[in-house]
C-alpha cells in the first residue's frame, strides 16, 4: 500500500466532480475529498452536476449518489458520457437495488457507508485509472 501522503501529491491536480443531495454527506465527503484533491466541484443534484461538467469539461472523475431529486445520478452520468465517454465514474449509493448500467469496465459502484479503507481504495483506484 502506498503512503497516503504520496498519494495526496499525485492526486492533487486531478479535477473531480462530487454530487450528493444530502447536505451532511456533501460536507463530510466533500471535506474528505478536498484533503486530497485541489479541484473538487461539489453539486447537490444531477442537474447541477451536469451543468458543472459542461462548464468545466476537464473534469476527470465524477463521484455521485444515485437517487437524487431532479435528476438521478445515472441519468446525469449518461449525459456526461455523451460528452466524455472515457470519464471515470464512481457511484456511491445507500440504496441496495438501484439499477446501474456498467458501461465502462472502469466505473465503480460502492455502497454507503464507506469505511476509511474503502476511501483509501477509492483514492488508489482513481490514481490508477486517471494517472
Amino acid at each position: 500500500m502506498e503512503d497516503i501522503k504520496t498519494l495526496k501529491d499525485t492526486l492533487k491536480d486531478i479535477k473531480i466532480l462530487f454530487v450528493d443531495d444530502e447536505e451532511d454527506i456533501r460536507n463530510g465527503t466533500g471535506s474528505f475529498l478536498k484533503k486530497f484533491f485541489d479541484n473538487v466541484i461539489i453539486c447537490s443534484n444531477g442537474e447541477e452536476g451536469l451543468q458543472a461538467f459542461k462548464e468545466s469539461q476537464d473534469i476527470q472523475v465524477v463521484i455521485s449518489d444515485v437517487l437524487m431529486p431532479k435528476m438521478t445520478g445515472t441519468i446525469m452520468v449518461e449525459e456526461i458520457k455523451k460528452i466524455n465517454p472515457d470519464i471515470f465514474i464512481i457511484f456511491i449509493s445507500a440504496s441496495r437495488g438501484v439499477e446501474f448500467k456498467k458501461e465502462s469496465n472502469n466505473d465503480i459502484f460502492v455502497k454507503k457507508p464507506l469505511s476509511y479503507n474503502d476511501m483509501k481504495d477509492l483514492l488508489i483506484k482513481i490514481n490508477e485509472v486517471v494517472i
Partner: protein, 832 residues
Amino acid sequence: MHNNFTTTQLRFDIFKRLFIVFSILLVILIYIVYLAQNKSFEQYNTISQKHIHKTIKHTLNHNINQYRNLLIRLLIMEDVSKYVANFDREGLYKVLKPKFDFLKKENQYFATLHIITKDGKSFLRVHAKDHFGDNIMQLRPMVQEIMKNKTTLIGYETGLHATAFRIIMPLYNGKEFLGSIGIGINPNYFISQISELLSEQGMLFLEDQHLKLFSTNIDFKIGNYRLQTKISEKTKELLNALPKGYAFEDSIQITLNDRIYFIHYENLKDYDNHTLGKYLFFEDITDRINSHNSIRWQLIAVVILFIIIVFILVSGSIMKFSRQLNRFYQDIINTTEENESYLKAVENGSKNLICTIFKGEIFTVNNAFLEFMEYKSLDTFKQQHKLLSELFVKRAGYLDRIIDGKDWFKYVVEKPNKMHKVIFQKDSQEYIFSVTVSKVKINNDRRYLVTFSDITEIETIKNRYEFAINAAQDGIWDWNLQTNELYFTPQWKKQLGYEDNELKNALSTWEEHIHPDDKEQAVKDIQASHNNETEFYENIHRLKHKDGHWVWILDRGQTIFDENGLAVRMIGSHTDITKIKELEEEIKEKDKVMMTQSRSAAMGEMISMIAHQWRQPLAIISMDANNILADIELDMVEQESLKEISLEIINQTNELSKTIDDFKEFFKPVKESEMVLVEEVIKRAFSVVGKSLENNNVAVRKIFSSKQEIDTYSRELMQVFINILNNAKEVLIEKNVQAKEILIELEDTEDTIIIKICDNAGGIPDSIIDKIFEPYFSTKDAKTGTGLGLYMSKTIIEKHLSGTLRVINTHEGACFIIELPFKKANKNIEDK
C-alpha cells in the same frame, strides 16, 4: 205441453177416487142412520106403549080412588050407619037420593049405591028403592067375602041388576058391624076416560060366561071375550082389520085406510084379582111414523147434503191444491230449467274440467273440458272417444277405467275421502288432475257430476318439496305444542348417525342429545319464539352423534300461532354446520397465521425503512470518522475541526435516535381504540415512508377537509396507510412515471370519513383488479412483496375497523378509497 196433461190427468184421477170414497161413505152413513133411526123408533114405541099402559092403569086407579073417597065421605057425612041401625030405610033413601042423583048426573056410568045388612039381605038400593029384602049373599061373592072379613073390596062383579065395577066397604055403628055399603060403576066409564087420552075409541070385552049387560051395536068376539061397548063405524072397521087369531097381545100394529094403529089392551079384574074382561084400545100412530119417517128422510138428506158439501169442499181444495201443485210443478220445471242453465253457466265459468256421466257415457261437458281436450263440441269428442277413461294414462296410483271391479266414477263416489288423481296426456306433456264425483239428480235422471281440477303444478311442487325434504341435508322437525308431540324426519336422525327407528319422536330425544353448555341458550331462544318475541327462532348448538362426537347444528324455526295468539305449533330445520364450523376454525387459524405473516412482513419493511433512514446518518458518521482518520494520517489534526466533526457525529446520532422514536410507534402493542385525527395518522405514516417517497421523487399532494376525530385503532390504520403508500411508490417507480405523484384526500360525510389515496401510475389492469385483495397475490417479485399487504389492509379496515376498503381506476391511476365510521363498531381487536 205434456206437463199440463199430467196434472189434468192427476186431477181427474184424484177426483174419481174421491168420488168413489165419498159414495161408499154416503151409503154407509145412510145405512147407519137408517138402522139407528129404526132402533130409536122401536125404543120409542116400547116406551110409548109402556107409557100408555101406565096411563090406562093410572086413569083406572085414579077413578077408583075417587069413588072410594066419595063413598067414605058419604058414610061419614050422612051418618048412613044410624039409619041402617034403626032400619030407617025411608030416612036413608031421602038422605042418599039427592047424592045419588047428583053423582048420576055427573057421571052417566055411575050405576048403583047399595046398602046390605049383615045377614046378606038388601037393605036399600038407592038406584031401585022398591027392590029390597032379597038375600044376595049367594049371588054375589064380594058380599059373602065382606060379611066374612069385614074389609073394603074393589073389583068387577056381576050383580042382580048390573054388571059393574064395585067398591064395597064395611058398615059399622060404633063397634057393631051392620053390613056393607057399595057403589057400582059401568066399566065403560073407564073406556070413556081413557079414550079421551088416546083419541080413538076404547072397547070392553067380557068373558062370555058373565052376564051380558051392556047393549052393543055389533056382536064381536075375541076368543072367549065378547064386545061390551057401543062402537062407531070406524072402530068397527078397526076391529075387522084385526089380524086373524088375535088374542089380546101387545105391540100389534094394523093398517087401515093408510093409517097405522097400535093396539093396546088392559085387564079388567074382580076383587080377587081374576081377569074377567079386557079393555082394548087403538092408538093412531100414523103421524108419529110419518114424523119418524120424515125425520129419517131429513136425516138422510142432511147426511147427503153434508157429504156433498164436504165432497165439494174437499175436491175444491184438491182442485186448488192441484192448481197450486201445477203452478209449483211449473215453477219447479222453470227452476230446473233455470238451474240447468245456471249450472251450465257455472260449469262453463269454472276453470276445472266438468262433465256429467249418464248411463256410463259422457252426457254434458263444460267449455273448459272441450278447451282442454281440444274439441269444438261434445259430439266430435264422442265420435273420437266412446269413453272418457280411454284418455286416462295408465299409472299406478292413478285412476283407470275399472277399479276394484267398478267403473272409475262409481269407485270415486264411494270413496269421497280419498284423493283421486288421473293423468291426461296432451302434446306429449302429462297433466295431473284431482277427481271428485258426486251423484246428482237432474230431471229425474241420475247422473254423475265429475270435476277434474288441474293439480299438475301442485303435484310438481309437492314432488319437488318431498324430494327436497328427502334429499336435503337438512333435518326437519315439527312440534305440536298442544299435544307436545315432536316429529323428526329421518334426515334429522341421520345427522346424528341414527336410523329412523332408533330415536323416538319426542322432545326428550333432543334434550338428551344437546350439549349441556348449549342447552340453556337454545331453550331460551325457543321460549322467546313461543312468546312471539322473535320473528324467527335461530340457534346454533351441538348435538351428540351416535359415535360420540359433537355435531354442530344450525337450528332454525318458526312458531305458528292460532287466532288467539296461542303458540300451537313450531316447525324448524336442522342444518349440519359442523363442516362450516371446522372451516371457520380453520379460517380463524389461517387468519392468525396471515396476520402474523403480515405483521412480520410489515416489520421487515419497517426494518428496511429504518435501515434506509439510518444509512445516511451512518454514512455521515462514517465519513466523519474517515475525515478524522485522514487528518491523523496527513498530520492535519486540528482541534477545531475535531470538535466540529464530533458535534456532527452527535447530530447524526440524534437523527438515528429520532428515527427509532418514529418507528417505535409502529411496534407499540395495540390495546384500545383511541380518538384520533386521521390527518395525524397520515403524518405518522409519512414519518416512516416520507423519506422513501422523497428519495424516489414522489410528490405528495394533500387535500384535507376533515376535522373529525375518529375512534379507531390508529396503529393498524397507520399500517394500512404505509402499505398503500408503499404500494403506490413501488408502482410509480416500476412504471417509471416522470412526475410521480400521490394524492391524499380526506373528506367527512355525515358519520364517516372517506380517505382517498390515489397515484398517477396508470391504474390496475382489469385482469387483476378483482384479485388484488386476495391473500398471497402479488405483482412484485418475491424480494419486495409478500402478497399479503392489500389482503391484510382489507382485513384490518373491514374486520377490525368496521370500515370499507375498495379500489377504483381513475384516468390517472389507481385510487384506494377507505371509508371509516366516526365511531368504531364494537369489535375487540385483541381477539384476533
